[in-house]
């Protein structure tokens, strides 16, 4: 490909990221366009800046970049698409949290930490491609080991697992949680009883 000036490269990268339905990686852009990674990174930084105040933003997710709508327009987007919001059940979120932070983990690990059977939730998370089977643990019984998937990063808007906030260590009870537990579970408060949900 012929040499591009920065403006041209920026426009080209913008077009490519726009047209892709999955996050596009810096390496892929660099390879495709035969341009240094550093140059790609700098036009991405510029693009990120350009879109900061707009209705869509350049998000760094799942090891790549993707244009995404601003969160404050979620309701309007949904009504345009005639889609209903999904929500994650607490069980699904707990399993995901455990798997995300502790991977690779076995079903047994998850169940010990949660104190409840989690086979069904794991199956659902596998079905939804939020977690994946990493292989089998090299111990008696060779239990399956699980980790989070690329889709997990994509959906939760994480660039990589290192992007996860540090786990809070507690030596006391979290009082914020206390309030929440006495009320009905938080995710039911949204009103729509028939919302699709991921359990």
């Amino acid at each position: 490909m012929k040499a591009l000036d920065t403006t041209e490269l920026k426009s080209l990268v913008e077009a490519l990221v726009f047209v892709s339905d999955v996050p596009v990686k810096v390496d892929k852009l660099a390879e495709m366009l035969e341009v240094d990674r550093g140059d790609i990174r700098s036009v991405l930084d510029e693009l990120e800046q350009d879109y900061r105040e707009r209705g869509i933003h350049l998000a760094r997710v799942a090891g790549g970049v993707q244009f995404r709508t601003d969160a404050r327009f979620a309701d309007a987007v949904r009504s345009l698409q005639k889609s209903r919001p999904f929500r994650f059940s607490r069980a699904a979120l707990e399993c995901l949290a455990i798997i995300a932070y502790r991977q690779p983990v076995t079903r047994g690990d998850v169940e010990y930490l949660r104190g409840v059977d989690s086979g069904g939730v794991l199956k659902t998370l596998l079905d939804k491609r939020l977690i994946r089977i990493l292989g089998k643990k090299d111990v008696a019984g060779r239990p399956l080991i699980y980790g989070t998937s690329c889709e997990f990063l994509e959906i939760f808007g994480l660039h990589s697992l290192e992007d996860l906030p540090t786990l809070k260590e507690f030596s006391e009870l979290d009082l914020d949680l206390a309030e929440e537990a006495t009320a009905p579970p938080a995710e039911d408060s949204s009103g729509a009883a028939d919302e699709p949900s991921i359990h």
């Binding site: 601003d70 979120l93 949290a97 939760f156 006391e172 537990a181 995710e187």
Partner: protein, 255 residues
């Protein structure tokens, strides 16, 4: 203690215990097992008296609590001196509760993020720009494309013909010559054009093998308009006259 607690509001016994300890405003490091145990069992009883199923995990925890309670009743003096000091019977439960709480908080944090498909949206569809990407371009045909085309034709061939294979003598060379004859004076020829409306299966096979042979001899090239589209036969563009005639079955290894 109110008993209007719904078990299904809790993710499990650990969650319920955290709730009880919090609502009793107890110090997690000094859980009053008697009180907690009593309340916990009362909730389970209430559930059972309503004929609601109580999951096994809740019952297991009940027995754990009772076990801890009984251990606490044993006077410390029963342990011989010099023996390593026994760990507080509540210690493991406390560790598990704090560990569980850690992931419980992490789960809520995950839920607080801007989730794709819930809070933010991306273009999760094929752009119109890409819809006609494969357009008029030609791709080199792979063997699999060929086999697929063959299968198409075979599917249309009369089934009875299948049984005739092996009895009819088919000349690959004759088919090669047929292809080259048809190709003569044309820029290209489609695979389908090589056949009559309802070709015998044996003819299709022979023609197919002939075509492969011609590809091997670099006399023709096969191209396809798209992955599943029509296969086109082109004479090779090296200017040489295609070898016509003089091909014997034996020279090709077919008999």
């Amino acid at each position: 203690m109110k008993l209007d607690i719904k078990l299904e509001n809790f993710e499990g016994p650990l969650d319920l215990l955290l709730h009880l300890i919090r609502s009793n405003e107890m110090d997690i490091w000094d859980i009053q097992i008697n009180r907690i145990c009593e309340q916990y069992l009362a909730i389970l009883d209430a559930m059972q008296s309503l004929n609601l199923d109580v999951a096994g995990e809740f019952l297991v925890m009940a027995s754990t609590l009772l076990h801890i309670k009984s251990k606490l009743l044993l006077p410390q003096s029963e342990f011989e001196e010099g023996e390593e000091e026994e760990e507080d019977p509540r210690a493991e439960l406390v560790r598990r509760l704090l560990e569980y709480q850690k992931y419980r908080v992490a789960a809520l944090e995950l839920d607080d993020r801007d989730l794709l498909g819930r809070d933010v949206y991306a273009r999760k569809f094929t752009s119109p720009e890409l819809a006609d990407v494969e357009g008029e371009e030609y791709f080199e045909v792979s063997l699999f494309d060929l086999v697929e085309a063959l299968q198409d034709v075979l599917a249309r061939a009369p089934k009875e013909a299948v049984h005739e294979i092996g009895f009819e003598s088919v000349s690959i060379a004759e088919r090669i010559n047929h292809i080259l004859d048809r190709l003569c004076g044309h820029e290209s020829l489609s695979f389908k054009e090589l056949f009559a409306d309802r070709p015998a299966r044996i003819d299709v096979v022979a023609t197919f093998l002939a075509m492969l042979e011609l590809v091997r001899l670099r006399t023709i090239r096969l191209m396809q308009t798209d992955r599943c589209g029509e296969i086109w036969i082109f004479p090779t563009a090296d200017g040489e006259e295609p070898v016509v005639g003089g091909l014997e079955d034996e020279s090709l290894g077919y008999n």
